[in-house]
């Protein structure tokens, strides 16, 4: 389980996240939403141990993330940033990097190979395992990074905009995959820019507004949808299983 306990993060004098307190439980797909600059990426970075809170602490399975040694932290928390590099590697080589926290010396063992194969299969990459990363489209590269993250086999998965650059069918595929992973007992928290997709695809949402947690709960919770409408300055309408976003008053 991931717990934010009164976490405040600052860049100089600017407080990007203020007194954030919430839990992310295993088994559910959590979405972190909020307008631009509301502190979504800062929240994920604090959870990944990339930013040290100036107050409060982030706990993973009751242990402070900042206090964990790097390799031990990497076995518990995996983070996929929004902006990613395109290294001179094949798909397989990049996915294999995910096993680094579990290897001390030498080549990957049978257990590592099993995780790599499984991650490639889950992300529909088995057919292009030996292709250079540079030859793939942005969306395909995104799936390779996702596969690397799955190969890392961490308890907590933090994803910054994992469905950007993906076509609608792939977006739903990734949501479905992440839901499967969550159902397998992992803790999954991701930022989602596409509001209807977040409302439709996530089991629980955390709404950030100007660095503060404005609301949290299930997408169907009326209080949550009222807060979303206020924070984003939009109107939300449920249409069948999905949601439609319009201007207020429409």
């Amino acid at each position: 389980m991931l717990r934010f306990d009164g976490v405040t993060c600052a860049y100089g004098a600017h407080r990007a996240l203020q007194d954030a307190t919430f839990d992310v439980q295993p088994g559910l797909l959590y979405g972190l939403i909020g307008p631009n600059g509301s502190g979504k990426t800062t929240t994920l970075k604090a959870a990944a141990g990339l930013i040290a809170p100036v107050r409060g602490q982030v706990l993973v399975n009751e242990q402070a993330v900042q206090a964990l040694p790097p390799r031990q932290r990497a076995r518990q928390v995996a983070y996929m940033p929004q902006l990613r590099e395109t290294p001179d590697m094949s798909v397989m080589q990049l996915v294999a990097c995910g096993r680094h926290p579990w290897q001390r010396f030498g080549r990957p063992g049978a257990d590592d190979r099993q995780h790599i194969e499984k991650a490639l299969h889950l992300c529909s990459l088995s057919g292009c395992a030996h292709r250079p990363l540079r030859e793939l489209s942005g969306g395909e590269q995104q799936r390779v990074y996702l596969a690397m993250m799955l190969a890392q086999d961490a308890q907590v998965l933090l994803l910054d905009e994992p469905v950007n650059h993906l076509d609608p069918a792939r977006q739903l595929e990734v949501f479905s995959l992440l839901r499967t992973i969550a159902l397998a007992g992992k803790t999954v928290l991701m930022t989602v820019h596409n509001l209807p997709l977040a409302l439709q695809g996530c089991d629980a949402l955390i709404v950030l507004d100007a660095g503060q947690v404005a609301a949290q709960g299930a997408p169907a919770d009326p209080h949550l949808s009222q807060t979303i409408q206020r924070v984003f300055g939009i109107a939300l309408h449920q249409a069948g299983p999905g949601w439609v976003v319009t201007q207020p008053g429409d």
Partner: protein
């Protein structure tokens, strides 16, 4: 059946061994291999063949191998660690820092053979850290670090020039150092530089995996359990050790650190981004260029850095164009 890339690695190693033999046997003063073997059997260290071999050919061949291997790995580390394909010891102020401190060593400790590589390393590391810190303070963009490196190089070069103006005795050393070359290198100089170079290689090999993971970006490397800052600083130190060791006996030799990592990656793919294949290729390139430098214009000799630039630059351009064509398909 061996993969094409494995075959290519074996081919590069075989080519390097062949080049070493050719380099040992090539020069303006000719002697038959039999003469050298006779001198060896007779223990005649005064024979011309033995003297040419031990005082000219062997140091020069060894110097070319060490120069090419060390500069290639130094450049590889910088390009990987800074995520900048333009990074090289020459562009980041490392060479200029090593040169300034080597000049200071030559001026203040003229008889201390061991002081040269040590001073050169301190200068190289200091300039690398200053460049890195300035780029970090300015936002650490990939271009920023190159611009910061150019600024630091210019500043350190100006300080070196000022020292030469004030201490005329330093002018000769500065001139030899600036042109850069492998003529007149002695085994004693190489022995003094070898421990520094060896330490750099060992660090590069030990941190090879961390170096690869840094190419995924700081955030991903951190997420995979790499202590990013410590790994980067140690790798910068390794790069500085390698470049400084070369500067201490060969002066400024550019281009190897920039071009060889690219050529290695284009020939060997991901494997070319590892220190050992890169070092082998760098050593082979330097040997070829040195043989051309000392034989093609005999009795005159060109500095090896000129040949490196003349041969290496068009080759890199052709390879880059070929890669662009492949990428367009």
């Amino acid at each position: 059946m061996a993969s094409p890339k494995h075959s290519l690695r074996v081919l590069i190693l075989a080519a390097l061994l062949l080049l070493i033999v050719l380099s040992l046997g090539t020069g303006q003063a000719g002697f038959q291999p039999g003469e050298l073997l006779d001198a060896l059997r007779a223990g005649d260290i005064a024979s011309p063949a033995w003297r040419i071999f031990m005082h000219v050919r062997a140091p020069r061949t060894l110097a070319a191998v060490m120069t090419g291997g060390a500069l290639a790995v130094s450049g590889l580390i910088l390009q990987q660690v800074l995520l900048n394909p333009m990074a090289s010891p020459g562009l980041l102020g490392i060479n200029a820092g090593a040169g300034l401190f080597a000049l200071l060593a030559a001026v203040f400790f003229p008889v201390g053979l061991w002081s040269l590589p040590v001073f050169a390393f301190v200068g190289a590391l200091l300039s690398a850290l200053i460049t890195y810190a300035i780029a970090g303070a300015l936002g650490a963009g990939r271009r920023t670090i190159i611009l910061a490196g150019i600024a630091i190089s210019s500043l350190l070069g100006a300080i070196s020039d000022a020292i030469v103006s004030v201490v005329p005795d330093a002018a000769l050393y500065r001139s030899v150092f600036s042109i850069g070359g492998l003529a007149n290198v002695t085994l004693r100089q190489l022995a003094a530089a070898a421990p520094v170079m060896l330490l750099g290689f060992v660090l590069a090999l030990a941190l090879g995996k961390g170096m690869r993971l840094l190419t995924l970006g700081d955030d991903v490397a951190h997420s995979l359990g790499v202590p990013v800052v410590r790994t980067r600083l140690l790798l910068l130190a390794a790069s500085a050790l390698l470049a400084a060791a070369v500067v201490s006996f060969a002066g400024l030799i550019g281009f190897v650190g920039l071009v060889v990592p690219h050529v290695a990656a284009l020939l060997l793919g991901e494997d070319g981004r590892r220190p050992v294949p890169c070092a082998l290729l760098g050593a082979a390139l330097c040997l070829v260029c040195d043989m051309i430098a000392r034989t093609c214009f005999a009795p005159y000799e060109l500095p090896v850095s000129i040949i490196l630039a003349v041969l290496g630059a068009p080759y890199l351009l052709v390879l880059l164009l070929r890669r662009r064509e492949h990428a367009a398909l």
